[in-house]
Structure formats: structure tokens, C-alpha cells
């Protein structure tokens, strides 16, 4: 459910970039205060572990499809929210660069959706309170499943909101939501059980790894949730601002884009019907004498032209011809540079 650049508007992308950048900076400062250096290699290698563990997939019971570990939740359980968020952000950055998964502008949204929710909301508000009262395998399982589901639901919801705010997709809010949430409920359940299994495995083999984090956290957890809540409110306010700006700008944007495509402000559909078609035909035939029917293939071209009932066929023809020329020019420039480069070597 990586958000893609193509579905975003710059305003939404920039807003979430700002939010995620702020969170990364805040976490980095927090870690600098409280962390010992031995965490640095551990964090780095665990990020790589998330990649590597995604190579091992398993069959989801009852279905034929396969699942793998998501990452945010297991990192939060092992490293605590701040370090986990930094690791998650770095994993997503590498994915954006090397797999073009998401994209550079969408990276802000993706860090927000897949980092903030599992690390701060799901972990701090769900997992920790449940497990702090006693960490039996059963409790760990319940806590992981609940928090993984909630983290993913929030993430999926926020993908819907970001897509909608950007206004690039036609999908209505309700339908999109109905598509995203159930799918991510299943994914969340599977991920929760997988996470719980791995955590319980680690707990049996090396319990001290988990205890370190659990004992280190209580000091800051009260402060962190409040701070995060304030941060969330700020971003919500900014997003709301962006939304209202969009609501007012949208009709203009639409008109403007139509104008760009057709070179005129109205939709051609509004003038469709027989009269404008005839009118354009008339215009066409009026232009014909200028060309003259000297050559048969030229006449051919014109008869093709006259079957374009759009009110302003010249604009669309020039659009298509121009497009072809631009693409041809791009291709030629690329090939020419390549040839020139090959020659000397």
C-alpha cells in the first residue's frame, strides 16, 4: 500500500513531507539524548533484517496467497518507538530509491502511513499498555495482533485521505475506503500473528533483548504520546488547510486544465450535437479550397480531418502532432547522445 507520486498533488506531498521530516528530526534528537552508541549498528542491521525477512514468505492459512513480515510493529517492539521510527523511515527511503516503491515525493506520506501509526499510535497506545501488565506469550500475541491491525487500518485510511485530498483519482471516499480497509484488515491479522510468533520466539531464546526496551521505556512514554498527539493535531490542521484550499481551487483547476488541453475554456461536450458538428464541417470545407484538390492523398487527409466532430479540431490535431513531434525529438536527442558517446570509446 505504498502511496505513489502520480496520485499526489504537490501540496499534499509537501505537507506530509514536512510532517515526516519533523518526526524524524524529533526522534533523532530524542535518541541522541538517551541512546547508547551500541544501538546504532543494531538499528542499521535490523533495518536490513526487515528487507531480508521479507524474502522468506509463507502461505496464509485458508488462502493460496503468501504473506511476509511488514516491519513497523516488530521494530517498535524491539527498539522502542523512536528508534523504530528512524529505522522504518530508512527502510522506506531505500525502497523509494531502489525499487521506486512509492516515490520521492510520496516518501513523506509513506513514512507517515507506515512509520508514525505503528510506532507511535499502535505501539504506544495499544501494545505497551497491554504488555506492561505482564508479558506472557498469550498477552504478547493479543497485543501484537491488535496493534498490527490498528496500525495498518490507520495507514490504509490515511492512504485514502491523501489520495482524495490530491484530487487525482475519481474514486469516491466511501468506495475507496471499502476497498482498502477490509484488505488491510486481513493483512493486519496475518502480520500481527507473524509478528507475535517472532517476538515469542525471540523471548524464548533471548529474553533480555525484549526486556531492555520494556524497562527503558516507561520514563518517556507518558511524554511521548502527548507530544505525538500535539504533532498529529498540528498536521491535521495543516492538512485541513490544504483541503480547504483545494476545495476552493478545484473548479478553477479543472477549467484551467481543460483550457490547456483544448485551448478553450469550455468542455467540447457542451457544444456537441449536430449543429456544431455541421458548423465545423462547414469550416472544414471552407478551408478546403485553400488546400485545393490537386493531390489525391492530400484530399484523403482532409476527409479524415472532416470526420473529427470536435468543435475545435485544429487544437486537437495540433495537440497530437505536437505530441508526436516532442516524443520523436526526445527519442532522437537520447539516441544521438548515446551514439556520440559510443563513438569515442
Amino acid at each position: 500500500m505504498h502511496m505513489a507520486d502520480a496520485l499526489l498533488s504537490p501540496a499534499v506531498g509537501a505537507t506530509f513531507w514536512a510532517g515526516s521530516l519533523g518526526a524524524v528530526t524529533c526522534c533523532a534528537r530524542k535518541l541522541k539524548e538517551s541512546m547508547d552508541e551500541s544501538m546504532i549498528p543494531l538499528m542499521g542491521v535490523l533495518g536490513a533484517f526487515i528487507f531480508a525477512s521479507q524474502m522468506i514468505n509463507f502461505t496464509i492459512p485458508g488462502t493460496g496467497s503468501s504473506g511476509h513480515l511488514g516491519g513497523g510493529m516488530i521494530l517498535a517492539i524491539i527498539l522502542g518507538p523512536y528508534a523504530a521510527f528512524i529505522v522504518m523511515a530508512s527502510v522506506l527511503t531505500v525502497q523509494a530509491f531502489f525499487f521506486a516503491d512509492g516515490g520521492l515525493l510520496a516518501l513523506g506520506c509513506n513514512i507517515w502511513n507506515l512509520g508514525i501509526y505503528p510506532c507511535f499510535i499502535a505501539y504506544s497506545l495499544m501494545y505497551r499498555p497491554i504488555v506492561r501488565q505482564g508479558n506472557s506469550p498469550m498477552r504478547i500475541t493479543a497485543a501484537s495482533v491488535i496493534s498490527a491491525v490498528i496500525g495498518l487500518q490507520l495507514g490504509a485510511f490515511s492512504v485514502v485521505v491523501q489520495t482524495l485530498l490530491s484530487g487525482r483519482s475519481e474514486l469516491p471516499f466511501g468506495a475507496f475506503l471499502l476497498m482498502m480497509q477490509p484488505v488491510h484488515l486481513v493483512i493486519g491479522l496475518v502480520e500481527g500473528f507473524a509478528t507475535a510468533g517472532v517476538i515469542n520466539f525471540v523471548r524464548a531464546a533471548r529474553p533480555e533483548i525484549l526486556e531492555n526496551v520494556l524497562s527503558a521505556q516507561p520514563l518517556s512514554s507518558g511524554v511521548s504520546t502527548r507530544k505525538v498527539a500535539v504533532g498529529l493535531l498540528v498536521v491535521a490542521a495543516i492538512t485541513g488547510g490544504a483541503l480547504s484550499w483545494f476545495a476552493s481551487a478545484n473548479p478553477d483547476g479543472l477549467e484551467w486544465s481543460v483550457e490547456k488541453v483544448f485551448g478553450r475554456p469550455e468542455l467540447p461536450a457542451q457544444e456537441q450535437g449536430i449543429a456544431p458538428a455541421l458548423k465545423s464541417l462547414q469550416e472544414k470545407t471552407a478551408v478546403l479550397p485553400d488546400y485545393g484538390f490537386k493531390e489525391p492523398d492530400k484530399a484523403d487527409k482532409n476527409s479524415v480531418g472532416s470526420s473529427w466532430p470536435a468543435p475545435d479540431p485544429e487544437a486537437s490535431v495540433s495537440g497530437i502532432v505536437g505530441s508526436a513531434m516532442v516524443l520523436a525529438a526526445v527519442l532522437l536527442i537520447g539516441l544521438a547522445i548515446r551514439l556520440l558517446r559510443r563513438k569515442p570509446s
Binding site: 507520486d5 533523532a28 509463507f58 528512524i86 525499487f99 483519482s169 495537440g319 505536437g322 548515446r338
Partner: protein
């Protein structure tokens, strides 16, 4: 499938150490240029197609100047196109307003906006991959730090990148061992998965401990240092100003429309 992706990651890394005009540029320059390009492309409204076409000039230039194999990058872009396609494909189904009539076929606004999304997707994904194919990842990390990203995040990226290859190999060993001992669907259930990734996790933690010991013995104090130094040269200035000028031109002038009109007039 992941096997191939892993290989691709290595191949991108190899590409990024080639030597060309583009590779020699300062990573900061390329990062800023790529971001500017993506924001400009994405800033086009929903129904824009013609305005996006001139932007293909940038990937074309980078492909040829940087000597990057086109098919390799395109394949990678197609591999990740699923989400944009999945969301975009609803536009033609939901938006039936006729926007354009060509040769008797009415094209609805939905198809135009879908096509626009896919063009934007292709441009932005390609530019991100081209950035990494022409810039080494440590270079990008260096640029990020110079541009003000927190040090701990940058060192995290460097570590992550360094150990992806190591741990992927480790995971591959585990998968190979599982596959050799299991037939059909056996060994693919969650129980086995949990033990395998639990094992991988423990090995990872132990590796981190060893790495930390090794780093301590080499005088690690909590910062990562780089030997390579980059400089902002005149080539960077030319590249950056040319990029921004072209981006501005393509964004504000309807290049396609103008070219089309001129050529039609020439024909007439």
C-alpha cells in the same frame, strides 16, 4: 521474484559507480534536480497529458548521458506500477464526461486522467531510479546530511544499505535450506516461517553485537565519517540551472501545442 529484485539492487549499485558526466555531478545537485522535477510533474492538474510529454526529455537525457540501460529501468518501473494502476483504473469507470473526440471515438475525462496518472507515475518512478543509477547510495546519504537531515538518520541509511546485501545472502541460505527439505507446500506454513525468521533475527542481533565490537576497536565514537569529498563545481551549476530553466519553460508554456500548430501551419 525477490531473488531477482535483490540482484537488481546489486546491479543498480554497480551502475551507480560508472563514470559519466552525470555520475560526476555532486549528489546534492542531482537530488535537488530530481525533487524539483518530480514536484513539477506532479503539479500538473488532473486532465493534463500534452504538457507532460516534453518532460520525457529529462529521462532521455539522463539515460543517454549516464549510459544507463533503458530496458532494465523500465522493467523495474513496471514492476511497481500496480498501486497507481489499481487506483487510476477507476477513473475511466467513474468519470464518463466526454472530453475529447478523435476520429469518431469519444474519449471520456476518466481515460484522460487515468492516462495522465500513468504518465506521471512513469516519469516520477523513472527519475527516482535514474537518480540512484547515476549516484552511489553513500553519495546520496552524504547529500542528505549536507542538506540538513539528522546525522543518526543518515548513518542509519548507510548501515541499512551496507547490510542489506549481507542479510539477503543469509536469508537466501535459509530459504535454500528450507526448500531442500520440503516438498510442495510443506514447510511454507506460518509455524516454520516464525522459526526461520526468528532464527534470522537472532543471527542479526548477534551480528550487530559483533559489528559494534569491531567498530569500537576501530575508534567509533558515534559518528560515521566519509573519506570522499564532493564539491559543487561549474558543471553542477550548469546542470542545475539548465534543469530548472527547462522545468519552468515546460511547466508554463504549452510546448506541444505550439509545436503542433507550427507544424500544421507548415503543412498547410
Amino acid at each position: 521474484m525477490f531473488d531477482r529484485e535483490y540482484f537488481n539492487l546489486g546491479y543498480l549499485d554497480i551502475l551507480s559507480y560508472r563514470d559519466s558526466v552525470i555520475h560526476r555531478l555532486d549528489p546534492r545537485t542531482k537530488l535537488v534536480a530530481a525533487l524539483a522535477f518530480i514536484v513539477t510533474v506532479v503539479s500538473f492538474p488532473k486532465y493534463e497529458i500534452t504538457g507532460l510529454l516534453p518532460f520525457f526529455l529529462f529521462p532521455a537525457m539522463l539515460f543517454s548521458l549516464g549510459d544507463i540501460p533503458v530496458r532494465f529501468i523500465v522493467k523495474k518501473v513496471l514492476l511497481v506500477s500496480a498501486f497507481a494502476f489499481f487506483v487510476g483504473i477507476f477513473n475511466p469507470l467513474l468519470d464518463h464526461r466526454p472530453l475529447h473526440v478523435i476520429g469518431g471515438i469519444t474519449i471520456s475525462g476518466g481515460w484522460i486522467s487515468f492516462f495522465s496518472i500513468m504518465l506521471k507515475f512513469f516519469l516520477t518512478a523513472t527519475s527516482a531510479l535514474l537518480l540512484i543509477a547515476t549516484t552511489s547510495f553513500p553519495g546520496i546519504c552524504h547529500a542528505l546530511q549536507k542538506l540538513g537531515m539528522p546525522e543518526i538518520f543518515v548513518s542509519q541509511l548507510i548501515f541499512l544499505y551496507r547490510y542489506i546485501f549481507v542479510l539477503a545472502e543469509e536469508a537466501m541460505k535459509i530459504i535454500r535450506a528450507r526448500d531442500m527439505r520440503s516438498f510442495g507446500s510443506r514447510g511454507r506454513d506460518m509455524k516454520v516461517f516464525i522459526r526461520l525468521s526468528g532464527m534470522l533475527f537472532l543471527r542479526t542481533v548477534e551480528r550487530a553485537e559483533r559489528i559494534y565490537q569491531a567498530m569500537l576497536s576501530r575508534g567509533f565514537t558515534g559518528r560515521l565519517l566519509t573519506m570522499h569529498s564532493y564539491g559543487f563545481t561549474s558543471a553542477d551549476l550548469v546542470f542545475l540551472s539548465a534543469t530548472i530553466t527547462l522545468l519552468y519553460l515546460f511547466r508554463t508554456y504549452n510546448v506541444v501545442g505550439a509545436l503542433g500548430r507550427i507544424s500544421l501551419r507548415g503543412l498547410g
